[in-house]
Symmetry: C2
Subunit: 155 residues, 2 copies
DNA sequence: TATTGTTATACTCTATAACTATA
DNA sequence: TATAGTTATAGAGTATAACAATA
């Protein structure tokens, strides 16, 4: 054989890259959409709920911090926290040490909503994971750690 | 001790659910956003590029099939493939056996774009994966298989 | 001047409701 | 009637550009 190639539906031969990358990207994309599709009707969107959930678990953060965590622009994050604030789920507070900074915190309503919605959205996945063996669960736990490390890496 | 509880930033005790679920959801969400953030300027969005990539790898599909694969409504998928068609990356063809059905196929331009963009978006992740041990890569490969199974499960 | 955050505007993605065409 | 697909409309999420306030 002359060179490695991927076979495509139309017979195109493409330089294949690392097959593991493609498998992971497809798996991650499908899982993300599946989790997102558990969203209920009058619900917050996934971006706003993600921010609220983060604040509930980790405590107040500035706009810049939140935008870096989610890898969106500060302008985008400003609009997301605007929605949370307009709905009464989060509050803005000026940083006393540095008047340029704004700290966002969840309200009591926001904290309760974050806990409740996380439980609801995760329910179906919890059920699927309980069907796995201990070995398989261990594999997923280790994979979650590796994926976090890769996703959060600077480069 | 009386019952398991999660400790939160504000001292809230919540019934914890399966910690593995939360770890996986956070890891998947962060990785999805990281891959998405590799998007270039005049680029297709992630939904349209995902559909184009699928068609390039797997061959023509009907609208219904595509909407089920991505877990979006047929109306949403219709608009996504509309964008692909308007840009000349995909074509509609009436199914000769059943005139209600429409088959979508990538054009030559679309196939080339799918291959090129996949390579570009996956480059950074390929570099990160090459830094891992064979054992770690094996863990991720097995995890990708498990996650696909869970995400694609009917329930 | 540099940093932090916001607003104006536009595009992508998704949904629901109402519709057309085919079986 | 039921199925496959489309269009109209609206809201979430994101981006870039331009701006205000503070350091």
């Amino acid at each position: 054989m002359t060179r490695p190639a991927t076979s495509s539906a139309d017979g195109t031969d493409a330089v294949p890259g690392d097959p593991l990358v493609a498998e992971l990207v497809v798996a991650v994309s499908r899982m993300y959409r599946r989790v997102r599709s558990e969203r209920a009707d009058g619900d917050l969107g996934d971006a706003a709920l993600g921010v609220l959930s983060y604040l509930q678990k980790n405590g107040p953060r500035t706009l810049s911090e939140l935008s870096e965590i989610d890898r969106v622009t500060p302008a985008s994050m400003s609009q997301t926290v605007n929605r949370l604030a307009a709905l009464g789920y989060a509050v803005r507070e000026r940083d006393p040490q540095d008047g340029r900074k704004v700290l966002f915190s969840p309200t009591d309503d926001g904290r309760a909503l974050a806990i409740r919605e996380r439980a609801r959205r995760h329910a179906w996945m919890g059920a699927r994971l309980r069907e796995l063996s201990d070995t398989e669960r261990g594999t997923l736990a280790e994979a979650a750690r590796l994926l976090r490390g890769i996703a959060d890496s600077e480069r």
